[in-house]
Amino acid sequence: MAPVSTERDLRLDLFRGLALWLIFLDHIPSNAVNWVTIRNYGFSDATEIFVFISGYTAAFVYGRAMRQHGFIVASARVLKRAWQIYVAHVFLLAIYLAEIAYVASSFDNPLYTEEMGVLNFLKNPDVTILQALLLKFKPVNMDVLPLYILLLLWFPPMLWLLLRAPSLALITSASVYALMWLFEWNIPAYPSGTWLFNPFAWQLLFVFGAWCALGGAENLSRWIHSPVMIGLAITYLLFAFSIAMTWYFPRLAIYVPKWVGDAIYPIDKTNLDVLRIMHFFALAIITVAFIPRDWPGLKSWFCWPAIVCGQHSLETFCLGVFLSFAGHFVFTEVSNRVVTQVVVSLAGIAIMVAVAALISWYRQAERRGGGPRPPAAKPGYAGGEP
């Protein structure tokens, strides 16, 4: 398959940046600002956007590397990326442990004796920390990076296949998804249960993103721009919206016929429910239909903050997880008034943008100043990172 385009699609960065903001907001518990995030208005949420775009950009960057330098070199780069993400995950874990240890030593309300049991693992860190390093013990809201690591480990052979027989690769991925549902595959977690984001399920969206990047999107474009598809997408989004409203206004629930409820519930996030995939597709169709690739707004100051975050997604994501801990800490220690919640949310996003801009500037300065590597050595990173 021929390379699709040499210029990076800024829409990817824009929406990945927005997804990172939404993930940050959703990760602060009891945050009033949460109501703006898309998970409240339909079935899918920012995770789908993040995983799809990550697959897309991974194929964009490593696909070129695999064509130019072969399987071994490209795979080595993918694995290096997986290692970076692992290190980032462990770094976040250290911050989480610090927070938990602080709460354990300062909080002893008799009303919450049971809940304090969650801190018990501090009593046997030998087991817990080992389980955390094995990615089996994953604290709340720290499930995305382990998923990303496994998706990257699985990516080199998929990419190899995608470059030779894209349809076969997509069929393979869909088969794994189907087999996962059939045999209930998942990876065990510690102390019990399974991974919150089942890699056997979520790989479908990642591989689909990669498939789109390697020419699939071009093949689909006539379909997704057809009025029928757009109409279907809008209908589905409205349907999802009306179902979502019954979650917040239980009185509306009586208007949902029993057979509809029986058919759609439970909407499984762990195994990436088909309803969630369809909701993401519908959102994607509407987005692509109304925001063309060369939309001038993508270059305006207005979109820049989200785009710069999307271009440095790993750093921004990790920072977002840290900031959501910190934000919750402010709620518990300082104030949890709505004003504080709004200020904390906006400040968090501002910090994410500022740090992403700093990284951007730093990379450029490094390249200009003849840093450790000549710029030509990293052609794949021209528009950002996978």
Partner: protein, 250 residues
Amino acid sequence: MRKRLLLLALLMLGAGPAWAEHPAECRVAENLIEPSFRLPRVTSALAAKQLTVLVVGAGSSQLPGSSGGGNAYPARLQRALAERLHGVDVKVTTDVKSGRTAAEMVKALPGALGAAKPALLVWQTGTVDAMLGVDSDLFSQSLDKGIKTAHAAGADVVLINAQYSPRTESMIALGTYVEDMRWVALQQEVPLFDRFSIMKLWGELGTFDLYSATKKLDIAERVHDCIGRLLADMVISAAKPEEPPINGSR
């Protein structure tokens, strides 16, 4: 409106008008306890002037200390029910042990039901499952199984979900389990006592300072007192007969 309904319920159930008003702090959450389903077995137990309730729960159904048992919400429930249901012999027994998952409670359920022979099972669960990350499907299946076991043993069921605990919110992902319980309650047509939302409302309005790092029991006792009283309200209003009071006099 809600007041009037309660009053009707009281009159119908033969309770005297002299029942103690709830403390204002409890009443803040009164509109959250409208029962969605009825409790027919409790209705007939009340008609027979004999109500036995079994509370099955984990650590958040008890309070620490020597007087913990007398101050936790099951004992408060007994007091509130007895206060409101004159002439009815109210007995609340408990099977409460901290750290139990829903599946573990289901295993102990037949024995506890057999011993107490209750008309009502009040089942508090969800917190421990969330802390251990028990598979959400398995959790829902345990709930289904427990409810069916109770129904088969002749007991109605009221589910109680997890406490709202702001300090540990970033460490325990309750969301899925709270939602699972809501969904199972709807499917199985049993009332859900939404302790999570009630406590969250108290926290947001500042009724109780749930962030407090106090080691003292006072707030905990007041919270349990309100939960016991509101639970009693919910049970009584879910047990009132369907018919309007004029035709429905027994």
